[in-house]
Protein backbone atom coordinates (compact mmCIF):
# COMPACT_ATOMS: atom_id res chain seq x y z
CA UNK A 1 0.00 0.00 0.00
CA UNK A 2 1.45 3.32 -1.02
CA UNK A 3 0.98 6.38 1.17
CA UNK A 4 2.27 9.94 1.25
CA UNK A 5 5.61 10.90 2.79
CA UNK A 6 4.69 12.91 5.88
CA UNK A 7 5.99 14.25 9.20
CA UNK A 8 5.43 10.84 10.77
CA UNK A 9 8.04 9.38 8.48
CA UNK A 10 10.56 11.89 9.74
CA UNK A 11 9.81 10.69 13.26
CA UNK A 12 10.33 7.08 12.14
CA UNK A 13 13.67 8.04 10.63
CA UNK A 14 14.76 9.86 13.77
CA UNK A 15 13.80 6.84 15.84
CA UNK A 16 15.80 4.60 13.56
CA UNK A 17 18.73 6.99 13.84
CA UNK A 18 18.92 6.10 17.53
CA UNK A 19 20.01 2.62 16.45
CA UNK A 20 22.61 4.11 14.18
CA UNK A 21 24.01 6.09 17.08
CA UNK A 22 23.74 3.16 19.48
CA UNK A 23 25.54 0.84 17.09
CA UNK A 24 28.29 3.40 16.46
CA UNK A 25 28.72 3.87 20.21
CA UNK A 26 28.93 0.14 20.88
CA UNK A 27 31.41 -0.31 18.07
CA UNK A 28 33.43 2.63 19.36
CA UNK A 29 33.59 1.23 22.88
CA UNK A 30 34.12 -2.38 21.80
CA UNK A 31 36.56 -1.29 19.12
CA UNK A 32 38.30 0.95 21.63
CA UNK A 33 38.91 -1.87 24.06
CA UNK A 34 40.07 -4.26 21.34
CA UNK A 35 42.01 -1.41 19.76
CA UNK A 36 44.13 -0.96 22.88
CA UNK A 37 44.99 -4.65 22.67
CA UNK A 38 45.85 -4.32 18.98
CA UNK A 39 48.06 -1.30 19.64
CA UNK A 40 49.84 -3.03 22.51
CA UNK A 41 50.41 -6.22 20.51
CA UNK A 42 51.75 -4.05 17.73
CA UNK A 43 54.41 -2.35 19.85
CA UNK A 44 55.48 -4.87 22.51
CA UNK A 45 59.04 -6.06 21.94
CA UNK A 46 57.89 -9.55 20.94
CA UNK A 47 57.96 -10.29 17.22
CA UNK A 48 55.19 -12.94 17.00
CA UNK A 49 52.80 -10.54 18.76
CA UNK A 50 53.74 -7.79 16.30
CA UNK A 51 53.15 -10.11 13.33
CA UNK A 52 49.81 -11.18 14.70
CA UNK A 53 48.72 -7.57 15.08
CA UNK A 54 50.01 -6.57 11.66
CA UNK A 55 48.28 -9.55 10.05
CA UNK A 56 45.02 -8.68 11.76
CA UNK A 57 45.24 -5.02 10.77
CA UNK A 58 46.00 -5.87 7.15
CA UNK A 59 43.17 -8.38 7.02
CA UNK A 60 40.60 -5.94 8.40
CA UNK A 61 41.84 -2.89 6.52
CA UNK A 62 42.32 -4.88 3.33
CA UNK A 63 38.82 -6.35 3.04
CA UNK A 64 35.46 -4.62 2.66
CA UNK A 65 33.47 -4.05 5.82
CA UNK A 66 30.47 -5.35 3.91
CA UNK A 67 32.24 -8.67 3.43
CA UNK A 68 33.17 -8.80 7.10
CA UNK A 69 29.55 -8.19 8.06
CA UNK A 70 28.35 -11.06 5.86
CA UNK A 71 31.04 -13.40 7.13
CA UNK A 72 29.99 -12.69 10.71
CA UNK A 73 26.32 -12.82 9.88
CA UNK A 74 26.62 -16.26 8.29
CA UNK A 75 29.57 -17.42 10.35
CA UNK A 76 28.32 -16.83 13.89
CA UNK A 77 25.48 -19.37 13.65
CA UNK A 78 28.05 -22.00 12.75
CA UNK A 79 29.53 -21.43 16.17
CA UNK A 80 26.08 -21.80 17.69
CA UNK A 81 25.71 -18.08 18.33
CA UNK A 82 22.18 -16.79 17.77
CA UNK A 83 21.58 -15.42 14.29
CA UNK A 84 20.79 -11.84 14.96
CA UNK A 85 21.82 -8.95 12.72
CA UNK A 86 22.28 -6.84 15.86
CA UNK A 87 24.91 -9.19 17.29
CA UNK A 88 26.65 -9.68 13.98
CA UNK A 89 26.67 -5.93 13.34
CA UNK A 90 27.98 -4.97 16.78
CA UNK A 91 30.67 -7.63 16.80
CA UNK A 92 31.78 -7.06 13.26
CA UNK A 93 31.92 -3.27 13.57
CA UNK A 94 33.82 -3.52 16.86
CA UNK A 95 36.47 -5.69 15.29
CA UNK A 96 36.59 -3.43 12.26
CA UNK A 97 36.97 -0.36 14.49
CA UNK A 98 39.69 -1.98 16.59
CA UNK A 99 41.99 -2.34 13.60
CA UNK A 100 41.70 1.35 12.78
CA UNK A 101 41.71 2.70 16.33
CA UNK A 102 44.64 0.46 17.25
CA UNK A 103 46.67 1.90 14.40
CA UNK A 104 45.68 5.48 15.19
CA UNK A 105 46.71 5.03 18.80
CA UNK A 106 49.94 3.24 18.06
CA UNK A 107 50.87 6.02 15.66
CA UNK A 108 50.07 8.66 18.26
CA UNK A 109 52.08 6.91 20.92
CA UNK A 110 55.07 6.53 18.65
CA UNK A 111 54.85 10.08 17.39
CA UNK A 112 55.76 11.42 20.81
CA UNK A 113 59.45 12.16 20.49
CA UNK A 114 61.81 9.62 22.05
CA UNK A 115 63.49 12.63 23.62
CA UNK A 116 60.49 13.01 25.86
CA UNK A 117 61.18 9.52 27.16
CA UNK A 118 64.79 10.50 27.76
CA UNK A 119 63.88 13.74 29.48
CA UNK A 120 61.61 11.81 31.82
CA UNK A 121 64.30 9.22 32.43
CA UNK A 122 66.87 11.90 33.16
CA UNK A 123 64.71 13.17 35.98
CA UNK A 124 64.67 9.72 37.53
CA UNK A 125 61.05 8.92 36.60
CA UNK A 126 60.55 5.17 36.46
CA UNK A 127 59.17 3.67 33.24
CA UNK A 128 55.51 3.54 34.21
CA UNK A 129 55.52 7.14 35.41
CA UNK A 130 57.25 8.29 32.25
CA UNK A 131 54.51 6.56 30.27
CA UNK A 132 51.69 7.83 32.47
CA UNK A 133 52.70 11.43 33.07
CA UNK A 134 54.92 12.34 30.15
CA UNK A 135 54.10 10.22 27.11
CA UNK A 136 50.41 9.31 27.41
CA UNK A 137 49.09 12.85 27.97
CA UNK A 138 50.89 13.97 24.83
CA UNK A 139 49.90 10.88 22.85
CA UNK A 140 46.26 11.33 23.81
CA UNK A 141 46.24 14.90 22.58
CA UNK A 142 47.68 13.75 19.30
CA UNK A 143 45.20 10.87 19.10
CA UNK A 144 41.96 12.69 19.86
CA UNK A 145 41.34 14.43 16.51
CA UNK A 146 41.97 11.36 14.33
CA UNK A 147 39.97 9.23 16.76
CA UNK A 148 36.96 11.53 16.51
CA UNK A 149 37.55 11.62 12.76
CA UNK A 150 37.31 7.84 12.68
CA UNK A 151 34.07 7.97 14.66
CA UNK A 152 32.59 9.94 11.76
CA UNK A 153 33.65 7.09 9.51
CA UNK A 154 32.12 4.60 11.91
CA UNK A 155 28.75 6.38 11.98
CA UNK A 156 28.66 6.28 8.18
CA UNK A 157 29.79 2.66 8.14
CA UNK A 158 26.88 1.57 10.33
CA UNK A 159 24.73 2.15 7.23
CA UNK A 160 26.14 -1.07 5.74
CA UNK A 161 24.46 -3.12 8.45
CA UNK A 162 21.24 -2.32 6.61
CA UNK A 163 22.36 -4.88 4.05
CA UNK A 164 22.38 -7.71 6.59
CA UNK A 165 18.94 -6.59 7.72
CA UNK A 166 19.72 -4.56 10.81
CA UNK A 167 17.10 -1.85 11.03
CA UNK A 168 18.93 1.38 11.55
CA UNK A 169 18.59 4.66 9.72
CA UNK A 170 19.43 3.42 6.24
CA UNK A 171 17.35 0.23 6.46
CA UNK A 172 14.41 2.21 7.80
CA UNK A 173 14.82 4.60 4.87
CA UNK A 174 14.67 1.70 2.43
CA UNK A 175 11.52 0.43 4.10
CA UNK A 176 9.86 3.86 4.10
CA UNK A 177 10.98 4.51 0.58
CA UNK A 178 9.21 1.37 -0.56
CA UNK A 179 6.01 2.20 1.28
CA UNK A 180 5.81 5.89 0.37
CA UNK A 181 7.42 5.71 -3.02
CA UNK A 182 9.11 9.01 -2.20
CA UNK A 183 12.78 7.92 -2.21
CA UNK A 184 14.13 11.39 -2.81
CA UNK A 185 12.48 12.81 0.29
CA UNK A 186 13.13 9.76 2.46
CA UNK A 187 16.78 9.36 1.55
CA UNK A 188 17.19 13.12 1.60
CA UNK A 189 16.02 13.29 5.20
CA UNK A 190 18.18 10.29 6.11
CA UNK A 191 21.21 11.97 4.54
CA UNK A 192 20.43 15.11 6.49
CA UNK A 193 20.31 13.19 9.77
CA UNK A 194 23.64 11.53 9.00
CA UNK A 195 25.02 14.90 8.04
CA UNK A 196 24.02 16.51 11.32
CA UNK A 197 25.64 13.74 13.38
CA UNK A 198 28.80 13.55 11.31
CA UNK A 199 29.24 17.26 10.80
CA UNK A 200 28.97 17.88 14.54
CA UNK A 201 31.66 15.25 15.12
CA UNK A 202 33.83 16.70 12.34
CA UNK A 203 33.61 20.15 13.85
CA UNK A 204 34.44 18.74 17.26
CA UNK A 205 37.54 17.04 15.90
CA UNK A 206 38.62 20.24 14.16
CA UNK A 207 38.25 22.14 17.38
CA UNK A 208 40.20 19.54 19.32
CA UNK A 209 42.95 19.83 16.76
CA UNK A 210 43.56 23.36 17.90
CA UNK A 211 44.22 22.58 21.57
CA UNK A 212 47.09 24.69 22.86
CA UNK A 213 50.38 23.42 24.26
CA UNK A 214 50.30 20.22 22.23
CA UNK A 215 53.54 18.48 21.40
CA UNK A 216 55.59 20.18 18.75
Amino acid sequence: MIREFGPNDIVYLLEAARWTVALALIAAVGGGILGVIVAVLRIVPFKPANWLAIGFINLIQGTPLLGQLFVFFFGLPLFHVVVDPWVAAALSLSIYASAFLGEIWRGSLQSVSPRQWEAGASLGLPYHQRLLHVILPQAIRIAVPPTVGFLVQLVKDTSLTALIGFVELTRESQILSNSTYAPLQVYGVAALIYFVICFALTRLSQRLERTPHAAR
Binding site: V71, F74, V152, P183
Partner: protein
Protein backbone atom coordinates in the same frame (compact mmCIF):
# COMPACT_ATOMS: atom_id res chain seq x y z
CA UNK B 1 31.11 -28.33 15.92
CA UNK B 2 28.85 -30.08 13.46
CA UNK B 3 29.18 -27.83 10.42
CA UNK B 4 31.24 -29.14 7.52
CA UNK B 5 33.10 -26.41 5.73
CA UNK B 6 33.04 -27.13 2.04
CA UNK B 7 34.92 -24.58 0.06
CA UNK B 8 35.09 -27.12 -2.75
CA UNK B 9 31.40 -26.45 -3.39
CA UNK B 10 32.50 -23.11 -4.80
CA UNK B 11 34.89 -24.59 -7.34
CA UNK B 12 32.36 -24.68 -10.21
CA UNK B 13 31.94 -20.94 -9.82
CA UNK B 14 35.51 -19.95 -10.60
CA UNK B 15 34.34 -18.21 -13.77
CA UNK B 16 31.87 -16.08 -11.85
CA UNK B 17 34.53 -15.08 -9.36
CA UNK B 18 37.00 -14.17 -12.07
CA UNK B 19 34.33 -12.17 -13.84
CA UNK B 20 33.54 -10.41 -10.57
CA UNK B 21 37.16 -9.53 -10.05
CA UNK B 22 37.43 -8.08 -13.55
CA UNK B 23 34.25 -6.07 -13.12
CA UNK B 24 35.40 -4.72 -9.79
CA UNK B 25 38.73 -3.73 -11.27
CA UNK B 26 36.99 -1.97 -14.16
CA UNK B 27 34.62 -0.18 -11.83
CA UNK B 28 37.48 0.88 -9.56
CA UNK B 29 39.74 2.15 -12.30
CA UNK B 30 36.97 4.10 -14.03
CA UNK B 31 35.89 5.62 -10.74
CA UNK B 32 39.43 6.50 -9.73
CA UNK B 33 39.98 8.33 -13.01
CA UNK B 34 36.75 10.31 -12.83
CA UNK B 35 37.14 10.91 -9.08
CA UNK B 36 40.65 12.24 -9.58
CA UNK B 37 39.48 14.70 -12.24
CA UNK B 38 36.58 15.86 -10.07
CA UNK B 39 38.99 16.14 -7.15
CA UNK B 40 41.37 18.28 -9.13
CA UNK B 41 38.62 20.75 -10.03
CA UNK B 42 37.38 20.77 -6.46
CA UNK B 43 40.87 21.42 -5.13
CA UNK B 44 41.38 24.26 -7.61
CA UNK B 45 38.00 25.74 -6.71
CA UNK B 46 38.73 25.52 -3.01
CA UNK B 47 42.15 27.10 -3.25
CA UNK B 48 41.07 29.61 -5.88
CA UNK B 49 39.85 33.16 -5.46
CA UNK B 50 36.29 32.92 -6.79
CA UNK B 51 33.98 32.92 -3.73
CA UNK B 52 31.04 31.22 -5.47
CA UNK B 53 33.16 28.33 -6.67
CA UNK B 54 34.88 28.06 -3.33
CA UNK B 55 31.54 27.93 -1.54
CA UNK B 56 30.08 25.39 -3.95
CA UNK B 57 33.14 23.14 -3.68
CA UNK B 58 33.14 23.34 0.10
CA UNK B 59 29.45 22.48 0.28
CA UNK B 60 29.96 19.53 -2.04
CA UNK B 61 32.89 18.19 -0.04
CA UNK B 62 31.16 18.56 3.31
CA UNK B 63 27.90 17.05 2.05
CA UNK B 64 29.64 13.99 0.66
CA UNK B 65 32.08 13.43 3.48
CA UNK B 66 29.42 13.60 6.16
CA UNK B 67 26.93 11.15 4.64
CA UNK B 68 27.29 7.43 3.93
CA UNK B 69 28.14 6.21 0.46
CA UNK B 70 25.23 3.77 0.58
CA UNK B 71 22.73 6.60 1.07
CA UNK B 72 24.34 8.56 -1.75
CA UNK B 73 24.02 5.50 -3.92
CA UNK B 74 20.36 5.04 -3.03
CA UNK B 75 19.66 8.67 -3.82
CA UNK B 76 21.32 8.41 -7.22
CA UNK B 77 19.65 5.14 -8.17
CA UNK B 78 16.20 5.50 -6.60
CA UNK B 79 15.87 9.21 -5.95
CA UNK B 80 17.14 10.91 -9.08
CA UNK B 81 14.68 9.12 -11.44
CA UNK B 82 11.98 11.15 -9.73
CA UNK B 83 13.71 14.21 -11.10
CA UNK B 84 13.83 12.62 -14.49
CA UNK B 85 17.46 11.52 -14.24
CA UNK B 86 17.61 7.83 -14.88
CA UNK B 87 20.61 5.46 -14.81
CA UNK B 88 20.94 1.72 -15.04
CA UNK B 89 22.46 0.13 -11.95
CA UNK B 90 26.01 -0.01 -13.27
CA UNK B 91 26.00 3.61 -14.41
CA UNK B 92 24.45 4.72 -11.13
CA UNK B 93 27.28 2.90 -9.36
CA UNK B 94 29.93 4.75 -11.33
CA UNK B 95 28.16 8.06 -10.82
CA UNK B 96 27.73 7.66 -7.07
CA UNK B 97 31.22 6.27 -6.49
CA UNK B 98 32.83 9.03 -8.58
CA UNK B 99 30.92 11.78 -6.83
CA UNK B 100 31.92 10.23 -3.52
CA UNK B 101 35.58 9.76 -4.37
CA UNK B 102 35.80 13.22 -5.96
CA UNK B 103 35.08 14.87 -2.62
CA UNK B 104 37.81 12.95 -0.83
CA UNK B 105 40.32 13.48 -3.64
CA UNK B 106 39.43 17.14 -3.61
CA UNK B 107 40.32 17.45 0.05
CA UNK B 108 43.54 15.52 -0.36
CA UNK B 109 44.65 17.48 -3.42
CA UNK B 110 43.75 20.76 -1.75
CA UNK B 111 46.06 19.91 1.12
CA UNK B 112 48.71 19.05 -1.46
CA UNK B 113 48.33 22.33 -3.31
CA UNK B 114 48.48 24.27 -0.09
CA UNK B 115 51.66 22.49 0.93
CA UNK B 116 53.52 23.95 -2.06
CA UNK B 117 55.19 27.17 -1.08
CA UNK B 118 54.64 30.28 -3.15
CA UNK B 119 58.40 30.48 -3.64
CA UNK B 120 58.10 27.44 -5.90
CA UNK B 121 55.52 29.20 -8.04
CA UNK B 122 57.68 32.32 -8.16
CA UNK B 123 60.68 30.26 -9.15
CA UNK B 124 58.70 28.71 -12.00
CA UNK B 125 57.36 32.04 -13.20
CA UNK B 126 60.74 33.72 -12.99
CA UNK B 127 62.11 31.06 -15.32
CA UNK B 128 59.59 32.26 -17.87
CA UNK B 129 57.04 29.47 -17.51
CA UNK B 130 53.43 30.49 -18.00
CA UNK B 131 51.02 30.17 -15.10
CA UNK B 132 49.61 27.00 -16.67
CA UNK B 133 53.04 25.49 -17.23
CA UNK B 134 54.11 26.34 -13.71
CA UNK B 135 51.01 24.67 -12.39
CA UNK B 136 51.42 21.53 -14.46
CA UNK B 137 55.15 21.02 -14.17
CA UNK B 138 56.07 22.58 -10.86
CA UNK B 139 53.07 22.73 -8.57
CA UNK B 140 51.00 19.71 -9.55
CA UNK B 141 53.90 17.28 -9.58
CA UNK B 142 55.05 18.28 -6.12
CA UNK B 143 51.51 18.48 -4.78
CA UNK B 144 50.67 14.99 -5.98
CA UNK B 145 53.95 13.73 -4.60
CA UNK B 146 53.18 15.25 -1.21
CA UNK B 147 49.77 13.60 -0.99
CA UNK B 148 50.48 10.40 -2.93
CA UNK B 149 50.24 8.17 0.16
CA UNK B 150 46.92 9.71 1.19
CA UNK B 151 45.62 9.54 -2.35
CA UNK B 152 46.48 5.89 -2.84
CA UNK B 153 45.01 4.83 0.49
CA UNK B 154 41.85 6.62 -0.60
CA UNK B 155 41.93 4.55 -3.78
CA UNK B 156 42.26 1.36 -1.77
CA UNK B 157 39.30 2.45 0.35
CA UNK B 158 37.36 3.04 -2.85
CA UNK B 159 38.24 -0.42 -4.15
CA UNK B 160 36.75 -1.87 -0.97
CA UNK B 161 33.77 0.48 -1.10
CA UNK B 162 32.77 -0.70 -4.58
CA UNK B 163 31.33 -3.78 -2.87
CA UNK B 164 28.47 -1.57 -1.67
CA UNK B 165 27.04 -1.10 -5.16
CA UNK B 166 25.82 -4.70 -5.05
CA UNK B 167 23.01 -3.18 -2.95
CA UNK B 168 21.42 -1.67 -6.07
CA UNK B 169 22.12 -4.72 -8.19
CA UNK B 170 25.16 -3.40 -10.02
CA UNK B 171 27.40 -6.21 -11.16
CA UNK B 172 30.80 -6.62 -9.57
CA UNK B 173 32.62 -9.06 -7.31
CA UNK B 174 30.33 -8.80 -4.31
CA UNK B 175 27.19 -9.28 -6.37
CA UNK B 176 28.71 -12.52 -7.67
CA UNK B 177 28.81 -13.64 -4.05
CA UNK B 178 25.05 -13.42 -3.66
CA UNK B 179 24.63 -15.25 -6.95
CA UNK B 180 26.93 -18.10 -5.87
CA UNK B 181 25.32 -18.12 -2.44
CA UNK B 182 21.86 -18.51 -3.97
CA UNK B 183 23.09 -21.52 -5.94
CA UNK B 184 25.21 -23.30 -3.37
CA UNK B 185 23.60 -22.34 -0.04
CA UNK B 186 27.17 -22.15 1.22
CA UNK B 187 26.85 -18.59 2.52
CA UNK B 188 29.73 -18.61 4.95
CA UNK B 189 32.20 -20.15 2.52
CA UNK B 190 31.07 -17.91 -0.30
CA UNK B 191 31.37 -14.66 1.59
CA UNK B 192 34.66 -15.66 3.22
CA UNK B 193 36.16 -16.47 -0.14
CA UNK B 194 34.88 -13.32 -1.83
CA UNK B 195 36.05 -11.19 1.08
CA UNK B 196 39.47 -12.81 0.86
CA UNK B 197 39.52 -12.08 -2.87
CA UNK B 198 39.30 -8.38 -2.03
CA UNK B 199 42.37 -8.79 0.17
CA UNK B 200 44.29 -10.05 -2.85
CA UNK B 201 43.04 -7.07 -4.85
CA UNK B 202 44.02 -4.51 -2.21
CA UNK B 203 47.45 -6.05 -1.76
CA UNK B 204 47.92 -5.98 -5.53
CA UNK B 205 46.85 -2.35 -5.71
CA UNK B 206 49.15 -1.38 -2.85
CA UNK B 207 52.05 -3.10 -4.59
CA UNK B 208 51.21 -1.34 -7.86
CA UNK B 209 51.00 2.02 -6.13
CA UNK B 210 54.38 1.41 -4.50
CA UNK B 211 55.92 0.61 -7.89
CA UNK B 212 54.43 3.77 -9.41
CA UNK B 213 55.84 5.76 -6.48
CA UNK B 214 59.29 4.35 -7.16
CA UNK B 215 59.08 4.95 -10.90
CA UNK B 216 57.48 8.36 -10.94
CA UNK B 217 58.63 10.08 -7.79
CA UNK B 218 61.73 8.45 -6.36
CA UNK B 219 63.67 7.93 -9.59
CA UNK B 220 62.74 11.29 -10.95
CA UNK B 221 63.69 13.31 -7.93
CA UNK B 222 66.98 11.46 -7.65
CA UNK B 223 67.98 12.06 -11.25
CA UNK B 224 67.07 15.74 -11.04
Amino acid sequence: MSYNFRFSALLPYTDEIVRGVVLTLQLSVITMSIGLVIGLFVALARTGSIPVLRGAATTYVEAIRNTPLLVQLLIVFFGLPHLGIRFDANTAAVVALSINLGAYCGEILRAGLQSIRTSQVEAGRSLGLTAGQTFRHVVLFQAVKAVYPALTSQFVLLLLATSVVSAIGATELFSEASFIDSRTYRSFETYSLITAAYLVLTLTFRALFAVVWQLVFVRRSRSR
